[in-house]
C-alpha cells in the first residue's frame, strides 16, 4: 500500500494560500505550460516493444499464445502493407463533366422529357453484376451472403407503409440494378428509401445517424461530377414528440397580442412546480411549451431522436446549385444503375423513373385559385417555430434568441428556447417541417417572423413545400433579406406579370396567397441556393480552374517568382494564359449577375472585379504573370472564403402565422418599441448578477450537497452542457443496478483551466477531473492510482468487491489501443508486494483512463497526384507507403516547385517504426532513466530528419492547411483532426484529398513457423487526454463507475455525435475508445485508413522529467538547421543535460536513477518502505544475469 504522504486539511489550506499567492505573483504558469506543449508537441509521445524474436523464442519453447500472436501480427501487418492507394477514380473525376455541361449537351441534342414512368424494385437487384463488383467470378448465393457488405433483402412489412421486399445496402460496397426503359427521353429518378440505423432482423446497429451518401453510376460510369454525391436526408424529431404528440398550433383573434414578454408565465414558479418539471419528461408548463426545465427555470434543450420512416427523394445536387432535380437521359432498352456506398447504410424500396414533374408559375397558380376567397374568419394560426415536427438533421434544434424582447417567449435572465435555425440551419438540403391546423378553407398568407443577420449584403433562400409539394415555381426560391432586425412579412417574391414593349419581363413583388383546405397541413422549408445557386456554381468552377492555373504557374516559378525574369509562359503554358482570359470574362459576367441579384454592388462583386482585372493583365501580358502571382493567390483565397459564406444560408425563425389573405391582413409588429427594449436590456443586465451560468441544465441544486460526486470539466460551455445532459443516465444506473451509492448524483462543474492545481492543493478539489495531467499529478500523490491492489481487493462485509476488481480494470482497458495507456502510466516506487506475490502488474501506476487520443496521418491531394501520374507515370509518382517513397517524391515535387509538409516528429516516427524506444531501460523500474536519443538508431533517425530540412530544403515553418488547400504542399503529415478543419473550411477541394496511414519503414517479421516475411511498419505516436480520479476522493467506487461510464463505447460515441450535432462538423471528437471512434461519421474509406493506423500506434512514456527530452532535442535540431552542426554531434551535446535532469527528477520521486544499480536501488527502497522488495530483487537478478 502506498504510504500516505497526505497531510491534514488544515495544513493544506495554509499551504495553498501561500502557493496561490506565489502563483498569482510570480508566474503565468499555465500559459507557459501551454507554450511548452505546442513547441515540443511532436517529441512528446510514445513506445512499447513487441519483438518478434522474443515471441518466436517463446513459441519455440511451446508457448501457443506466442505462436497465435505471431500469426495474428503477420496477418495484420500484411493487410496493412497490402494497401495500395488507387488514383483511377481520381482520373475519372478530373475528366468528369458537370451537370451543367451534361444538361447543356442534352439540350443541344434536342433530347426531351420522357412521357412514361417505370418503377424498379430495389430488391430485384442485379446479382451477377453486383457479385462481379465484389470480386466473385459468378454469383453464388452462399459465397455472396458470406461477404461483409453484400446487400440484404428484407421481407415484406419490414418497414411500415411499404408493401413488398426491400433491400438493405451497407455503408460499403456497390449494388447494381438492371431494367428496361420504355422510350428515349429525360427521366428524373426518385428513390423510396428508409434511413436505417438498426437492423430489426439481427438487432445490429449498422448505421450511425450521419448523412447518407452514395455515388450514382449509370451503365457503369458516373454520368457527371455531381452524381458522386447523392445524399439522402434523415428524419429527426424531438424527444417529446413520440408520445402522442400534438403540434401545438395556437389560435389568436385578430388584434390580440401574440407576443408579450410580460405575460410569460415562466418567470416565477414554485418549488413544487420545479420538481414536477424536472422529473417528468412529459410535463408541459402550459399549452404550447413542451420543454423540460432545469432547477434555475431555464428551458432545457430537448434531445434529438432519429425517427426513421419511409421517405422519398429525387436524385438532385447535394449542394443545391441547381434548383431542379437531375434529369438523366436514357435510350430505349436495357440499362443499369449502380449505387456505390460512401457513407451510411440505406434501405431501399424502389426507384421511380419518371419525367420531371410540372410545376406551375405563381401567375397560373393565382389564376387557378381566382375563384377562391380568403376565409371570413378572424382566427390566426400561430406556430412557434421551435416546435417543428421534424428536421433533416440533428444540428437543427431550438435556440435561445436574446436580441429582441418580443421574441416569443422571452425572459430577461432564464433561457427560453424561443427560435430555431440561425447558423445551424444554413447548409443546402437541410429542412425543417411544421404541422399546422387550418380552421377553414381559403386563401392564406404565411407570415414568418424571421431574421437573417449573418450574411451582410446577401439574402438567404428557402424552398417551400406545402404538404410535400412545391405549390408553384416561385416557391422554389423565397428570399429572406439581410437585416439586423426582425422582420414580419408574408412569404412572397418577384413574379413575372407580363412583358414590356421590348419583350422584357415585367417583374413585380407579390405576397403569395396559398390555398389551404380546412384541416392539417405540413409546411416544409428547405435550404436552397435559389437564384444565387447558378452564379455561385459558376464562380466555384472558376475558382477551381484558377487554383489549377495558380499551381501550374507555381510549378514554373516557385513561390517567390522573379518579376524581371522571362519565364516564357507563352510557350510553356499557353493554355493557362488563354484560360485566364476566358476566366476573366466569366468572372465579369458573374459579377454583373451577382450585382443584379443582390441589387447592389457589394464587396463580393468588387472582389470578382478585382480578380477579373488581374486576370486580364496576367492573361494578356505574360511578363506580368510572375509579378502578380502573389496577389493572384491572395485573391483566390479571398474568393474561396467568400464562396464559403455565400453558400451558407442562415435564417432564424421565431414563429409562423397563417393569416387570411384579406386586403388589410393582420401582420404583427416585428420589433419591440424603444422603451420595451430598454426595459428588457436593463433587467437582463441586472439579472446577470444573480444567474448561475455554470450550472445551466442542472436539474437540482447540487452545490455543497453531501453524497454528490463532484466532477470538473474545463471544456467549452456547449460540451459541458452535453455532458450534463448525459450524466443523468449515469445516476439512473444506480436504480437499475440497485446501487444508488455507487452511482450518486453528479455535480458537474465547468471550471477555468488551471483551477485544478490550487484547488487540489487546498484540499478542495473534485472527485473526478475530466482534464489534467495524470502523471504529473500522479507522482505528486494527487491522483488516485487505479492500479492499486488494495483497491482491487477491498471487500465489503458480504464478500463482494468494495470498489472494483482487477478483472474490471482489465475489461475496461480493452476499450483502448494499448498505446493509449503508455502516457498515463508510470512505474510505482511505492509498490509493496503482498506476501510472495511478485506480480509486476502492480508495479506500474495507472493515473486515469484515456478519453481523447490524437495521432498523425498522411494527408495528400488526390487530384495533384493523379495529374502528376498522368504526366510522369505512376512509377515516379505514387502515394508514399515508405519513407523512401516519400524521399524520392521530393525530387519530383521540387521540379514542380511543390513541397512536402513534415515536422520534426519525423525522428520519432522513424524510431518507433524500427522499435527503437524513446528511453533506455530493460524493465519497468529503469524505464525513463536515460534517454535513448544517443543510440545509433536514434542518431540515424535524427540525421534522416535533419536532412529532410537541411539537405532537401523542405520548409520548417508553414501553415499546412493553407498550403494544402492551394496545392503548394500536396502531401504532408498532420494530426488526423485536421480532417475537420479541411472539411469545413476548404469545401472547394472536397473529394480531392484524403488521409491515409503514415509512411512506414520496411521491416522483417517472423511468422508462427519461424519463417521471415517483409512488411511495412506504419507506427505513429499517439497522445492522449485522460479522465482521472483525485486522490482525496471519498467515493472511489462512484468515481470509478463514473470514469468507466464516461469512457464506455456508447457514451463516448454519443458525446461525439452530440458535439458534432451542436457545434458542427468541425468539432468531431477524437475519442480514445476504439469502437466509439469508428462509429463516428466517417466515410468507408476514411474508416479503413483510421482502422489501419489504429493498429500501429505507440505511446511515449511520461516519466519524471520527460519535458527535458523534447526540449533538448529541439535545441539539437535548431543548431543543425541554423548553424549547420553535424547532427550526431549536435545531439551528443545535449545528452548529458537530458540525463542529468532525468536523474534529478527521478530522485525527487524515489525512482531509480541511472547512477544506481538495481541492487542499490532495491536496498534504498527497502529502507524507505521498510519491506523486503522481492520483485525488485528478481529484476536485479535478471539484470545481473544479462550483464554476464
Amino acid at each position: 500500500m502506498k504510504t500516505s504522504k497526505n497531510f491534514g486539511r488544515g495544513k493544506r489550506i495554509a499551504v495553498s494560500i501561500l502557493a496561490l499567492s506565489l502563483i498569482s505573483q510570480s508566474f503565468i504558469g499555465s500559459a507557459f505550460a501551454a507554450e511548452d506543449s505546442t513547441n515540443e508537441n511532436y517529441f512528446f509521445e510514445a513506445n512499447n516493444v513487441h519483438s518478434d524474436e522474443e515471441l518466436w523464442e517463446k513459441a519455440q519453447n511451446g508457448d501457443e499464445e506466442a505462436k497465435a500472436k505471431l500469426a495474428e501480427m503477420k496477418a495484420n501487418r500484411l493487410e496493412a502493407s497490402a494497401t495500395k492507394h488507387n488514383l483511377d477514380a481520381m482520373n475519372e473525376i478530373l475528366t468528369a463533366t458537370t451537370y451543367a455541361d451534361y444538361r447543356a449537351d442534352n439540350e443541344d441534342r434536342g433530347r426531351v422529357k420522357a412521357t412514361k414512368t417505370i418503377t424498379v424494385n430495389a430488391a430485384d437487384f442485379d446479382k451477377e453484376a453486383t457479385a462481379k463488383h465484389f470480386g466473385l467470378e459468378k454469383y453464388d448465393e452462399a459465397a455472396a451472403e458470406a461477404l461483409a457488405y453484400w446487400p440484404d433483402v428484407k421481407a415484406d412489412g419490414y418497414v411500415e407503409g411499404w408493401d413488398g421486399e426491400s433491400l438493405l445496402t451497407y455503408d460499403d460496397g456497390r449494388v447494381y440494378w438492371t431494367f428496361t426503359i420504355p422510350e428515349d427521353g429525360l427521366y428524373t429518378i426518385e428513390a423510396d428509401y428508409y434511413p436505417i440505423v438498426d437492423d430489426k432482423d439481427t438487432g445490429v446497429t449498422v448505421g450511425n445517424k450521419s448523412s447518407i451518401e452514395r455515388i450514382l453510376l449509370i451503365d457503369g460510369r458516373v454520368p457527371f461530377d455531381e452524381a458522386r454525391y447523392i445524399t439522402f436526408t434523415r428524419n429527426w424529431i424531438e424527444d417529446y414528440t413520440p408520445a402522442g404528440y400534438v403540434q401545438p398550433t395556437q389560435f389568436f383573434k385578430t388584434g390580440t397580442s401574440l407576443t408579450d414578454a410580460d405575460n410569460d408565465p415562466a418567470i416565477e414558479f414554485s418549488e413544487e412546480d420545479k420538481n414536477v418539471q424536472t422529473g417528468d419528461t412529459t410535463h408541459t408548463r402550459d399549452a404550447g411549451r413542451y420543454f423540460k426545465y432545469d432547477y434555475y427555470g431555464n428551458e432545457i434543450r430537448p434531445q434529438k431522436v432519429e425517427a426513421p420512416k419511409a421517405m422519398k427523394q429525387l436524385f438532385k445536387d447535394a449542394n443545391e446549385f441547381y434548383d431542379v432535380p437531375f434529369e438523366f437521359y436514357f435510350t430505349k432498352g436495357e440499362h443499369t444503375i449502380a449505387l456505390d456506398s460512401s457513407r451510411e447504410p440505406l434501405l431501399l424500396k424502389s426507384f421511380t423513373f419518371a419525367p420531371a414533374a410540372e410545376v406551375v408559375s405563381y401567375t397560373e397558380y393565382e389564376k387557378a385559385n381566382s375563384s377562391k376567397k380568403a376565409p371570413a374568419t378572424d382566427k390566426i394560426v400561430k406556430i412557434d417555430a421551435e416546435f417543428m415536427t421534424a428536421t433533416s438533421e440533428q444540428v437543427i434544434y431550438p435556440l435561445n434568441d436574446r436580441t429582441s424582447p418580443i421574441t416569443d417567449p422571452q425572459h430577461s435572465s432564464a433561457i427560453r428556447l424561443n427560435s430555431i435555425g440561425g447558423e445551424k440551419w444554413q447548409l443546402a438540403g437541410q429542412w425543417v417541417e411544421w404541422d399546422i391546423e387550418v380552421p377553414e378553407d381559403g386563401l392564406y398568407y404565411i407570415i414568418p417572423r424571421y431574421m437573417q443577420n449573418v450574411n451582410a449584403g446577401l439574402f438567404s433562400t428557402r424552398k417551400i413545400y406545402i404538404d410535400g409539394i412545391e405549390p408553384f415555381t416561385e416557391a422554389r426560391s423565397i428570399r429572406f433579406e439581410y437585416s439586423d432586425e426582425w422582420t414580419t412579412r408574408p412569404l412572397g417574391g418577384d413574379v413575372v406579370v407580363g412583358k414590356d414593349e421590348d419583350g422584357k419581363d415585367i417583374v413585380e413583388r407579390k405576397d403569395f396567397k396559398f390555398y389551404l383546405t380546412k384541416g392539417k397541413h405540413t409546411i416544409k422549408m428547405e435550404v436552397v441556393l435559389g437564384d444565387m445557386g447558378e452564379v455561385i456554381l459558376r464562380i466555384n468552377e472558376s475558382l477551381q480552374r484558377m487554383n489549377e492555373y495558380y499551381r501550374k504557374i507555381l510549378m514554373i516559378t516557385g513561390t517567390q517568382p522573379d518579376a524581371y525574369l522571362d519565364y516564357n509562359f507563352d510557350n510553356l503554358i499557353p493554355d493557362v494564359l488563354s484560360g485566364m482570359r476566358s476566366e476573366q470574362k466569366l468572372l465579369e459576367n458573374a459579377s454583373a449577375d451577382l450585382e443584379r441579384l443582390v441589387g447592389e454592388k457589394g464587396d463580393q462583386s468588387v472582389t470578382l472585379d478585382k480578380i477579373a482585372y488581374l486576370l486580364d493583365i496576367m492573361g494578356n501580358d505574360q511578363d506580368k504573370v510572375a509579378a502578380n502571382l502573389t496577389n493572384f493567390k491572395s485573391y483566390i483565397g479571398t474568393l474561396g472564403t467568400w464562396l464559403l459564406t455565400a453558400r451558407n444560408q442562415p435564417l432564424t425563425l421565431d414563429y409562423i402565422l397563417v393569416v387570411p389573405a384579406v386586403e388589410d391582413y393582420y401582420c404583427p409588429k416585428a420589433n419591440a418599441g424603444f422603451f420595451k427594449n430598454v426595459k428588457h436590456e436593463f433587467s437582463a443586465f441586472m439579472n446577470s448578477f444573480f444567474t448561475n451560468y455554470n450550472s445551466v441544465g442542472a436539474t437540482e441544486e447540487l452545490n455543497d450537497k453531501e453524497g454528490v460526486l463532484e466532477v470538473w470539466i474545463t471544456t467549452g460551455r456547449d460540451q459541458a452542457q452535453i455532458v450534463r445532459q448525459m450524466v443523468t443516465e449515469y445516476t439512473n444506473q444506480g436504480a437499475l443496478k440497485n446501487d444508488p451509492e455507487g452511482y450518486p448524483a453528479v455535480n458537474l462543474k465547468l471550471i477555468a483551466g488551471g483551477t485544478l492545481l490550487p484547488a487540489t492543493l487546498a484540499g478542495m478539489g473534485p472527485d473526478v477531473s475530466m482534464d489534467g495531467d495524470p502523471v504529473s499529478y500522479g507522482v505528486r500523490n494527487a491522483v488516485l492510482n487505479l492500479n492499486e491492489r488494495w483497491i482491487h481487493e477491498a471487500k465489503n462485509e458480504d464478500g463482494t468487491p468494495k470498489y472494483y476488481t482487477k478483472a474490471d480494470l482489465d475489461q475496461v482497458k480493452k476499450r483502448f489501443a494499448p498505446a493509449a495507456f503508455i502516457p498515463i502510466e508510470v512505474y510505482n516506487p511505492d509498490y509493496i508486494p503482498v506476501g510472495d506475490d511478485l506480480d509486476e502488474y502492480y508495479s506500474v501506476s495507472l493515473y486515469g483512463l484515456p478519453d481523447t487520443q490524437s495521432f498523425p496521418m498522411l494527408f495528400y491531394r488526390k487530384d495533384i497526384f493523379a495529374e502528376l501520374q498522368n504526366e510522369l507515370g505512376d512509377k515516379d509518382v505514387k502515394v508514399p507507403e515508405t519513407w523512401d517513397d516519400l524521399y524520392s517524391l521530393i525530387r519530383v515535387f521540387s521540379d514542380k516547385n511543390m513541397e512536402i509538409g513534415l515536422n520534426t516528429g519525423l525522428m520519432q516516427y522513424i524510431m518507433y517504426q524500427n522499435d527503437v524506444p524513446w528511453y533506455k531501460g530493460d524493465n519497468v523500474a529503469s524505464e525513463g532513466m536515460a534517454t535513448n536519443l544517443d543510440s545509433d538508431e536514434a542518431l540515424d533517425a535524427f540525421k534522416t530528419m535533419c536532412d529532410f530540412f537541411t539537405q532537401y530544403q523542405q520548409p520548417y515553418t508553414y501553415d499546412f492547411a493553407n498550403r494544402f488547400r492551394t496545392g503548394e504542399m500536396p502531401l504532408g503529415i498532420a494530426d488526423y483532426s485536421l480532417y475537420n478543419q479541411l472539411t469545413v473550411f476548404a469545401p472547394e477541394i472536397k473529394g480531392l484529398w484524403e488521409f491515409v496511414q503514415m509512411p512506414g519503414t520496411q521491416r522483417t517479421g517472423i511468422d508462427e513457423n519461424g519463417e521471415t516475411y517483409t512488411y511495412i511498419d506504419h507506427t505513429a505516436p499517439a497522445g492522449v487526454g485522460a479522465v482521472m480520479v483525485m486522490k482525496d476522493t471519498d467515493k472511489i467506487k462512484a468515481s470509478w463507475n463514473y470514469i468507466e461510464w464516461w469512457t464506455s463505447e456508447e457514451i463516448q460515441g454519443r458525446f461525439g455525435n452530440e458535439q458534432v450535432a451542436i457545434i458542427g462538423t468541425a468539432a468531431k471528437y477524437s475519442t480514445a475508445n476504439t469502437n466509439a471512434m469508428k462509429s463516428q461519421s466517417w466515410s468507408s474509406d476514411e474508416k479503413r485508413s483510421l482502422e489501419q493506423q489504429f493498429k500501429y500506434l505507440e505511446g511515449t512514456p511520461m516519466t519524471p522529467g520527460n519535458y527535458i527530452v523534447g526540449r533538448n532535442q529541439n535545441f539539437a535540431f535548431l543548431s543543425v538547421y541554423n548553424s549547420g552542426t553535424t547532427p550526431s554531434d549536435a545531439m551528443q551535446t545535449y545528452i548529458s543535460d537530458i540525463n542529468k535532469e532525468l536523474s534529478r527528477k527521478r530522485d525527487e520521486y524515489d525512482f531509480r536513477i541511472q547512477e544506481e544499480t538495481l541492487t542499490e536501488y532495491k536496498e534504498e527502497q527497502e529502507k524507505r518502505l521498510g519491506v523486503e522488495l522481492k520483485y525488485l530483487g528478481e529484476l536485479a537478478a535478471k539484470e545481473e544475469a544479462n550483464k554476464k
Binding site: 504522504k5 497531510f7 495544513k11 499551504v15 501561500l18 502557493a19 499567492s21 506565489l22 502563483i23 498569482s24 505573483q25 510570480s26 508566474f27 503565468i28 504558469g29 499555465s30 507557459f32 505550460a33 507554450e35 511548452d36 513547441n39 513561390t559 517567390q560 522573379d562 492545481l757 487540489t760 492543493l761 504529473s776 499529478y777 505528486r780 500523490n781 494527487a782 530544403q953 520548409p955 520548417y956 515553418t957 508553414y958 501553415d959 519535458y1107 526540449r1111 529541439n1114 535545441f1115 535548431l1118 543548431s1119 538547421y1121 541554423n1122 548553424s1123 527528477k1145 525527487e1148
Partner: protein, 318 residues
C-alpha cells in the same frame, strides 16, 4: 489610609519614558484609530497580496515543494544548486542584465531624449507624436507584429523580401536561430519599453514652472543643456523616479514578449531570462521551492538596482 498609600493608588501619569515602545505605540494607535481604520483596507490587501507572498516565497525557498505535497525543509540547498550547479541560471542572469541595461538605462535615456525633443513641438503635433511613441505599450500584444515580419516561413515579410532580393536562398528562422534572437529581441524590447517612461517624462516636462526658466536665465544659465540639467530635471525628479522604477521592474520582468516571439524555451536558452527560469521551475517543473529561491535572487537584484537608481537620481542637477 496613609498619604503614601493614597499616592500609590493615584493613577500613574502616562509618560513616554514609563512605557515600552510597544505600549506607547498601542496607546497612540488607540488615540488615532480613525486614521488606522482608513488605511486598513489598503494595508490588509497589501499585506495579503504583497508582503505575505514575498515572505512566504522567501520561506519556501528553503524547502523542496512540489506544488502538491507538503514542503520539506532542505536548508540552503536550493541556493547552492542555483549558484553552483545551474549553468542555465547563470546564462539567465547574463541575459537579464543585458536586457535590463538595454530596456532600463538605455531606453530610459532614449525616452528622456525623445520626450525632451517632442516637448518642443506644438501641442497638437506633440500629442500625435506622443501617441505614436506610446502606442506600442498600450496596445497589448502588438509586438506580435514582429513575429509576422520575421516569420520563419518563406512567406514571412523579411524572408520574402530577402529571398526576392536574392540575399538568402532558404528562409531564415529568425526567432529560432540563436544568432538572431538576441539582437531582434532587444530591438523589440526597446520598441515596447519606451512607452511608460516616455509618457511620464512628457508629463514631467509639462509641470515645470515656466517662470523658473526666466529666473534661471537671470541667474546665469548659459545654454539649453544647463537649463535641462539645473532646472528641468530637478523639477521633475518625481516623474523620473517613477519612470526609473517602472523601467527597472519592467526590465527584470521582461519575459512574456520573448516567450511569445521565440517560444518557451528559446532555442539553446539563448534569450533565457531570470523570469523564464522562474517560470520554468515554477510552472513546468513544479519545483516551487527552487523557483522561490530564484524569485528571491531576482527580488534582491531588483532592490539593489532600485537603490542604485535612487542614489543616482538624487545627483541630478547637482
Amino acid at each position: 489610609m496613609s498619604e503614601k498609600t493614597l499616592a500609590k493608588n493615584q493613577p500613574k501619569p502616562k509618560l513616554r519614558k514609563d512605557m515600552t515602545m510597544l505600549q506607547w505605540t498601542i496607546r497612540n494607535m488607540k488615540v488615532n484609530w480613525r486614521g488606522y481604520a482608513m488605511v486598513a483596507p489598503y494595508y490588509v490587501i497589501f499585506l495579503t497580496f504583497t508582503i505575505v507572498p514575498v515572505i512566504l516565497s522567501f520561506v519556501l525557498s528553503f524547502t523542496n515543494f512540489n506544488m502538491l505535497e507538503m514542503p520539506r525543509f532542505v536548508g540552503i540547498d536550493n541556493y547552492i544548486r542555483l549558484i553552483l550547479d545551474d549553468d542555465i541560471f547563470l546564462l539567465a542572469i547574463q541575459n537579464t542584465l543585458i536586457f535590463a541595461t538595454m530596456t532600463g538605462p538605455f531606453s530610459y535615456l532614449l525616452s528622456l531624449l525623445f520626450a525632451w525633443f517632442i516637448n518642443e513641438l506644438t501641442p497638437k503635433f506633440r500629442s500625435v507624436v506622443t501617441l505614436i511613441f506610446y502606442a506600442p505599450s498600450i496596445s497589448g500584444q502588438v509586438y506580435l507584429i514582429w513575429q509576422v515580419l520575421f516569420s520563419g516561413d518563406q512567406y514571412g515579410y523579411v524572408n520574402g523580401i530577402l529571398m526576392k532580393m536574392g540575399l538568402i536562398n532558404a528562409p531564415v528562422l529568425w526567432f529560432s536561430d540563436a544568432n538572431y534572437i538576441m539582437p531582434l529581441v532587444i530591438v523589440v524590447a526597446l520598441w515596447t519599453s519606451l512607452g511608460t517612461s516616455f509618457l511620464s517624462f512628457i508629463a514631467g516636462f509639462q509641470v515645470v514652472d515656466k517662470s523658473l526658466y526666466e529666473a534661471a536665465a537671470v541667474d546665469g544659465i548659459k545654454n539649453r543643456w544647463q537649463e535641462l540639467w539645473f532646472v528641468t530635471l530637478p523639477m521633475m525628479r518625481n516623474q523620473m523616479m517613477f519612470a526609473a522604477v517602472m523601467s527597472i521592474t519592467g526590465a527584470f520582468g521582461f519575459g512574456a514578449i520573448i516567450t511569445a516571439l521565440c517560444g518557451f524555451p528559446s532555442p539553446d536558452y539563448c534569450a533565457w531570462t531570470i523570469m523564464h527560469h522562474l517560470e520554468d521551475y515554477g510552472g513546468s517543473r513544479w519545483e516551487v521551492g527552487y523557483a522561490s529561491a530564484i524569485a528571491t535572487v531576482l527580488f534582491i537584484i531588483q532592490i539593489a538596482a532600485n537603490t542604485i537608481i535612487g542614489k543616482m537620481l538624487s545627483k541630478v542637477g547637482k
